[in-house]
């Protein structure tokens, strides 16, 4: 076997190993999702007796969906989740994009550097550390818990650091200062320069931040469970909690609730997918 043939064989073997590992990882991550999908169309008994069967002994059923929707007051909790997720995501994007623009373009100001350093530092503080003081301050002192606005405000507060960090990098590497100078000469104010020139060019980063934060806000359980106590303003993750009883869990309803919770964010991901790839790779290669 020549050296070239040996190298080709080694390359082929490495490729096969890589593909195998990737398939295993893919199955590992996709399995819970598949389990939810195949069990949501079975009744409770079939899920328990044959969780891996595609169709249970009692056949295909859709009854889990209406029952779960009625029990969790689906349309109301869906509306709450939607309002909270959309408002929090939009506010996070607006606040962090504007903040990072000011920080990047005024890099000489020590205040900007200090604020940015604080924001980056705050990213490493786990939420659990702030949980108790947060509830005691906002609930005990200000008494403003149990409100969608408070939850939105907290979501924005917790996510703005990461988003600012991402926008900071995007503006720093992808938006040439000359574009802003051209806009200033063309007649833009600083405000117009940001909205008409800089913000539209941040589209890939906006999409990335939108999907990351929307997923986090939509799926968040811990913060809403601390802030929201009134059933009327529950979000989907909290509403699904009621299917888990102390002594029994209606697993069929849980599966239906999970599918209902997953769908909107999957649709959002499919819409924003191409921007996310652009956002992740932007700045990697000189365009």
């Amino acid at each position: 076997m020549t050296q070239n043939e040996k190298a080709a064989a080694a390359k082929k073997r490495n490729h096969a190993i890589m593909i195998t590992v990737l398939i295993l990882l893919f199955l590992f991550f996709i399995m819970p999702f598949i389990l939810v999908l195949i069990n949501v169309f079975k009744d409770k008994a079939d899920i328990v007796t044959s969780p891996l069967a595609l169709i249970g002994a009692h056949g295909f059923t859709l009854k889990n969906f209406p029952e779960a929707m009625a029990k969790m007051d689906f349309f109301n909790v869906f509306k709450n989740s939607l309002i909270i997720t959309i408002c929090s995501t939009i506010l996070t994007i607006l606040v962090s994009a504007m903040t990072s623009f000011v920080i990047v373009r005024n890099g000489k100001w020590k205040m900007c550097t200090a604020v940015f350093a604080l924001m980056v530092a705050s990213m490493v503080i786990p939420f659990q550390v702030l949980m108790v003081p947060l509830v005691s301050v906002y609930g005990g002192i200000f008494g403003i818990l149990n409100s969608r606005i408070t939850l939105i405000f907290m979501h924005v507060g917790f996510s703005v650091s990461m988003a600012t960090f991402m926008f900071h990098g995007a503006i720093h590497t992808n938006i040439p200062l000359e574009l802003e100078e051209a806009a200033l000469i063309d007649g833009c104010t600083r405000w117009q320069t940001f909205w008409k020139i800089v913000f539209p060019l941040l589209k890939p980063t906006i999409a990335t931040v939108a999907i990351i934060d929307a997923m986090a806000f939509w799926n968040d359980y811990l913060l809403p469970s601390l802030v929201l106590t009134d059933k009327a303003i529950y979000t989907i993750p909290i509403a699904t909690q009621q299917f888990y009883g102390t002594y029994s869990t209606d697993i069929g309803l849980v599966m239906a609730a999970l599918v209902l919770a997953m769908l909107p964010i999957l649709i959002l991901y499919l819409f924003l997918q191409k921007y996310i790839v652009a956002g992740v790779t932007s700045g990697a290669v000189k365009g």
């Binding site: 000359e178 100078e181 051209a182 000469i185 063309d186 007649g187 117009q192």
Partner: protein, 368 residues
């Protein structure tokens, strides 16, 4: 169109770096002014101060007699073409060109009409619906020019607009810019480090070095009467040959001793070096003023040196040789049969000879 006045303009950055020293310039209406100089000489900084993108540390800048020091860029009625073109990537060519008018709330029909008119001048009609990324370098450059022209500003500022183009396109666009200036009759201030662009485009050239204006004159004047060694070396390509020359006097005649060759100076040049007899000055001669001197020894002062390199450019050839330890270049017709290894006889066109003080580097022949 407008006249500009820059008086005692200084630029000092926060870190103490003094970028521009006492810049004075009066620009008349319809002039094509070129700021030229090596990198870091302050030419772009001065242009940016005119644009309002940099603060003026001290001095007065006026457009049509109105003080502009603290006026926002958008209110100066200027347009600028950037080196990188700075086209808005998310807008089409039409939107890019009409953006400034849109900001001024000009009716859409009027914007479209103006954009179409300028697109026709610049041959951009077929590209109006494209985004900048779908354009070539030359097309982007034309869009950047179009964006400036559409506004009909008082002054055009151009910051090395041809630097990103390949050599052929650069020559083509240079001609286009000259034609546009002729056609629009606008006041243009143009920054470049390319002396060829400066010489071919400018009505007046401002030569800068280390933030200090060296000379402001017409291209012809700069070429024929440089005020110092720097200007003499910077203007002209290949650059002027500089040689140390000892001034000697024999009777009524004044000679320069260059590497052992005695060169008799004509009367006007001899008068300029009377105070330097016995001292060394710098003699400057452009490569195009060194001629093939074979057989012309009785008409011209000649020098001889072995040819080290011959570069054929087509119609002409550059001959490189060393004289008194300094590399020299002669620019001769390509049919001159002087080749590497031969000893070249070069005749000096003494009418074109430049003389400089070795200490101050100032020209001994310079007049305003």
């Amino acid at each position: 169109m407008a006249s500009l006045s820059l008086k005692h303009i200084e630029k000092v950055y926060e870190n103490g770096f003094h970028a521009v020293h006492d810049f004075n310039l009066e620009v008349e209406d319809k002039e094509f002014i070129i700021f030229v100089g090596p990198s870091g000489c302050g030419k772009s900084t001065t242009l940016r101060m005119i644009a309002g993108l940099e603060d003026i540390s001290s001095g007065e800048f006026k457009i049509d007699g109105v003080l502009m020091n603290d006026v926002e860029p958008k209110d100066r009625d200027i347009a600028m073409v950037f080196q990188s073109y700075a086209l808005y990537p998310h807008m089409t060519v039409r939107d890019n060109m009409g953006f400034a008018l849109k900001l001024r709330n000009v009716p859409k029909d009027e914007i479209d009409a103006k954009v179409d008119e300028v697109a026709k001048i610049l041959d951009l009609e077929k590209l109006l619906d494209r985004k900048p990324k779908a354009l070539s370098g030359g097309q982007r450059q034309r869009v950047a020019m179009g964006r400036a022209i559409v506004r009909q500003p008082k002054v055009f500022l151009m910051d090395e607009p041809l630097s990103n183009l390949d050599a052929k396109l650069r020559v083509q666009m240079r001609t286009e810019i000259a034609k546009l200036h002729e056609r629009l009759g606008t006041t243009i201030i143009y920054v470049t480090h390319d002396q060829t662009e400066a010489m071919t485009l400018g009505t007046r050239i401002v030569v800068m070095k280390d933030g200090i204006v060296q000379q402001i004159n017409s291209p012809e004047h700069l070429y024929n009467k440089p005020c110092n060694l720097f200007v003499a070396g910077f203007i002209g390509s290949p650059q002027m040959n500089f040689l140390d020359a000892l001034v000697e006097k024999k009777g009524a005649d004044t000679f320069l001793d260059i590497a052992g060759f005695k060169i008799k100076l004509p009367a006007d040049k001899a008068a300029a070096v009377q105070d330097y007899v016995g001292k060394t000055i710098v003699a400057g001669i452009r490569p195009e003023h060194l001629l093939d001197g074979r057989g012309k020894e009785d008409q011209f002062c000649t020098i001889t040196a072995p040819i080290e390199v011959r570069e054929l450019l087509g119609a002409e050839a550059y001959l490189y040789f060393t004289l008194a330890g300094k590399q020299c270049t002669a620019r001769v017709a390509s049919d001159v049969d002087l080749y590497v290894g031969m000893v070249g006889t070069m005749a000096l066109d003494l009418n074109k000879l430049q003389l400089f003080d070795k200490e101050t580097e100032l020209s001994l022949l310079w007049t305003e």
